[in-house]
């Protein structure tokens, strides 16, 4: 990225921070430009694209911008039930975010992982079907399972 920006005469310094200080900087707005990894968790574009909405709508957006037109367009997209029209609205949202306003820039999607035998936990796109099944079964069964409570530990799985 730094090399690419240098080709138009920009001078960019990379700053790598541990998670705690970096998130503190992101939340307080103490940064110039962020390079983030946007890992989605719903695996449905209508909700996954919320990362691109202003902070007032999606607290995980750190761009510090407000855009009423974008929010209105998103609300219209959410409520559109015709697939073809929904796709047109998504293109409109994409053009607004990435081009007209350049609120954010998407650069390459992640790829490849290796495993020796079996993976017990992975990114959301892989574990979601199982979790969906579990949720449905929990809600449907009469012989309900029991809670197990672990003591005094942070929950590292929670984002």
């Amino acid at each position: 990225m730094i090399g690419e920006w240098s080709k138009i005469g920009l001078h960019v310094k990379q700053r790598v921070e541990p998670m705690g200080p970096e998130f503190a900087a992101m939340r307080s707005g103490n940064f110039d430009v962020l390079l983030e990894a946007n890992c989605n968790s719903v695996v449905n574009p209508l909700l996954d694209v919320q990362k691109f909405l202003p902070h007032t709508v999606y607290v995980g957006n750190y761009g510090n911008y407000e855009d009423r037109a974008e929010i209105d367009l998103y609300q219209k997209l959410l409520r559109e039930t015709d697939a073809a029209k929904r796709r047109v609205l998504m293109r409109d949202l994409e053009k607004l975010v990435l081009d007209n306003e350049a609120h954010e820039m998407v650069v390459t999607y992640w790829h490849i992982r290796s495993k020796r035998a079996l993976e017990i936990c992975s990114d959301a796109s892989l574990i979601q079907p199982d979790i969906r099944q579990i949720l449905v079964q929990v809600m449907a069964r009469a012989d309900l399972p029991a809670f197990h409570i672990g003591a005094q530990g942070n929950d590292p799985m929670r984002g």
Binding site: M1, L10, K13, L98, V107, T108, K115, F147
Partner: protein
């Protein structure tokens, strides 16, 4: 400690996730903006009433960051979830050491008969790639959580042959550049557009795919989704133009017009927390 799980617990948990008590952080509450209210109508039935119809509601319910905790505990302390783990899943929580490991053991009362198949698991944090690959080679790790570059994958394949499986697909995870609009000159759309117009996505991705676990170019929607942009559609957007010289010339023009030629700034990023999962058998 065990207690029966009821629909009242489920409803109370979702109410906290969707409409958290003041002072409680629920980063993904807006994934549920279609929900009007959640209520338990008896011990085994939870009803979600929606403001409008949307197919994305069902997958949103399966979001792995959500949780179901006991209503009595949430009523008493809505922050309880911040330092405790609770669940009814296949494994019972054993321990968590910050930056070291997380351990779980088989839940003998799991509601799916005969499952889980494993007696337990240990997930170990491995910030350095060499630690993660060594663990796989030595059969101390069964899976690698965060992805590896192609060269490492090939090396593992050579060393382990048919004992290793490599999965290659796009993740629902992109790299994202976010300018701080509150900091000058990034409040100026011309500067932001210049940043994106200078990046040669198409050639850059080809080069990066050889050395890193990234590959596919996409827009705001996960590549391959029916709602994702086609390559032709992407090429109409700033940052995706096929003619990179034209794109960079436009970027330079915008910077000049905005009075931001030769701009210097910091690009900050977080240290990647890498993670491997080791399974303990028997």
């Amino acid at each position: 400690m065990e207690r029966p799980l009821s629909a009242f617990d489920v409803a109370a948990s979702w109410q906290q996730i969707i409409n958290p008590t003041a002072g409680v952080l629920s980063p993904r509450e807006n994934h549920y903006m279609m929900v009007d209210r959640v209520e338990a109508i008896d011990p085994t039935t939870v009803v979600f009433r929606l403001k409008f119809a949307i197919g994305a509601f069902l997958p949103a319910l399966a979001e792995p960051f959500t949780w179901i905790y006991a209503k009595a505990i949430l009523d008493r302390d809505p922050h309880w979830y911040e330092k405790h783990v609770m669940g009814s899943g296949p494994f019972k929580f054993l321990s968590y050491e910050v930056g070291q490991s997380i351990k779980g053991e088989r839940n003998p009362d799991y509601y799916r008969p005969g499952q889980p198949y494993l007696d337990g698991f240990t997930g170990i944090y491995g910030p350095k790639q060499a630690v993660r690959t060594d663990a796989i080679v030595a059969d101390r790790a069964a899976g690698e959580f965060r992805g590896l570059p192609p060269s490492v994958r090939d090396q593992l394949q050579q060393q382990l042959g048919d004992k290793i499986v490599s999965q290659s697909s796009d993740w629902n995870c992109s790299n994202l550049v976010t300018p701080n609009h509150k900091k000058k000159p990034f409040d100026d759309v011309r500067v932001r557009r210049a940043l994106t117009l200078s990046i040669d996505q198409w050639h850059g991705a080809q080069a990066l795919a050889k050395i890193a676990n990234v590959r596919t170019i996409g827009g705001i929607v996960f590549p391959g989704s029916p709602l994702a942009a086609t390559k032709a559609e992407l090429e109409t957007l700033a940052g995706y133009w096929p003619d990179i010289e034209k794109s960079r010339n436009e970027a330079k023009r915008l910077l000049k017009e905005a009075g931001a030629e030769g701009l210097a700034f910091d690009c900050s990023t977080v240290t990647l927390i890498s993670h491997i999962s080791m399974l303990r058998y028997g």
